[in-house]
Amino acid sequence: MAHLTAIPVVEPRQDRTMILNMGPQHPSTHGVLRVILEIDGENVVRIMPDIGYLHTGIEKTCEAKFYQQVVPLTDRIDYLCPLTNNLCYALAVEKLLGLEIPPKAQWMRVLLNELTRINSHLVWLGTHALDIGAMSVFLYCFREREDILRLFEMISGQRMMTSYFRIGGLALEPPLGFFKRAGDFANRFPEKVDEYENLLTSNPIWGMRTKGVARITAEDAIALGASGPTLRGSGVDFDLRRDMPYSGYENFKFKVPISQDGDVFARYICRVQEMRESIAIVHQALNGMPEGPIKADAPKVVLPDREKMKTQMEALIYHFKIITEGFTVPAGEVYQAVESPRGEMGYYVVSDGTAKPYRVHMRAACLANLQLLEKMCVGRLIADVVAAIGSIDIVLGEIDR
């Protein structure tokens, strides 16, 4: 046990305060976040998030894989929005390669990304409400989430770890009946959002637990690197989808919900409104879905169709070469950022001209957002800490990587 002495012990700074350990197995910390609280009675004096319990060394693993083998790893970073991760990585490598992606693949990516956003927000809403004490919302949210997961299963064969966006396009042609089912879901979903709002928005208990709690100003949010709904809840009108569009988002019309209050309720309203806007984007994507190929015309990078491999020698050779020795990527570096459900997700990919990435770094939105916790919670009650953690929508897989 000698090695344990190296671990520092947090001591209370005053006589009347005590140290309280919360997590890493606490149900309200959404995974394995550990928070060390210094409390004076019920009041929080100091708060120190301790992370790393889910560190899996994905960035290191990426350096030992071919470019195409990294795609399944990206699913596992943020397991609530795997497709957003797939997209961000694919876009980064495509930028390094200089690949043009066909319009149908781009629209499919937008469509699935918005479904992923709704999926992630549903998990957030359910668990956040559960943390604060509204049990039933959780059941409603997971009912609709199941529909989205079935759509993902239909399209990729996987409910969660989809790996559906590949470098150069999509993995598979969307199956027959997918668009109709996605359309049905999109038609049905807005009234479900009304249902959630009926349960929460005007609920006085919900209001008491969230309004004016864990307030953060726009200046603090920017200085601490917050992004996504956490930033927009403080009144900063910035959304990467609209302001620095990628993957064809410039073709879609949608509003970016913001709120000026900067409290837990403001972040809640932003996310709920975002779900409605996402549905609007899903409708646009379904109505305007272009025809055409789903993969870029780059035989050295994109795997050939199974059919072609049986009839064309070239396709078979390229398939063999991509699988066994990967494809080389011109030397260089790119930083690609996308708007994930949690904020700015960025992939910084460095290539040294070989078939394996020299370095892959993920900019995790939650890691930066987690830094807000201190500003949000100091001087407030322990119960508000739970509300604050829920309101920044953390996913520990992404924080720890």
Partner: protein, 165 residues
């Protein structure tokens, strides 16, 4: 594949707002610059990194008020071995700029930018943890991901991906 060659000539790039500002302030601070794949990278001398950040953040026309990311690339065994990479974003102007600081393996040390953007706190701790770069002036430079008593810095290139250390 269509690829536009990178521009590395300072003369051609001097119209970029961030670079123009830095060159007007102190040409000695800028070691080199590169425009590649629609992204600008400015290499900064390590003595000036904090001043450069303050300057870019307070820029009137294009304030780079948002620190998106800090990370590091290990170019072992070549020297200078480490590249600290800062990604800055101007929320008002929707502009990005990448700053780079090169460090020799003998003294992997650079001034912290936590006093400019508090957001750098976790990012720099992560780089310290996984690469062993010391950030002078950081308020709480401790390991972030790995256990406190871990030996070595896993993302360094001389650290094996699998097997025993």
């Amino acid at each position: 594949m269509p690829s536009v060659p990178a521009i590395t000539d300072l003369e051609q790039l001097k119209d970029h707002p961030a670079l123009a500002l830095l060159l007007a302030w102190n040409p000695a601070a800028v070691q080199s610059a590169k425009y590649d794949r629609d992204e600008i990278t400015i290499c900064v001398d390590r003595c000036y990194v904090r001043d450069v950040c303050v300057l870019l953040m307070d820029d009137k026309n294009c304030p780079f008020n948002f620190l998106a990311d800090v990370t590091c690339v290990d170019w072992y065994p070549s020297e200078p071995r480490f590249e600290i990479v800062y990604h800055l974003l101007s929320i008002a102007q929707r502009e990005r700029v990448r700053l780079k600081v090169r460090l020799e393996s003998a003294s992997p040390m650079v001034e912290s930018v936590t006093s400019v953007w508090p957001a750098a706190n976790f990012f720099e701790r992560e780089v310290f943890d996984l690469f062993g770069i010391r950030f002078t002036g950081h308020p709480y430079l401790r390991r972030l991901m790995m256990p406190e008593d871990w030996e070595g810095h896993p993302l360094r290139k001389d650290y094996p991906v699998e097997g025993y250390r």
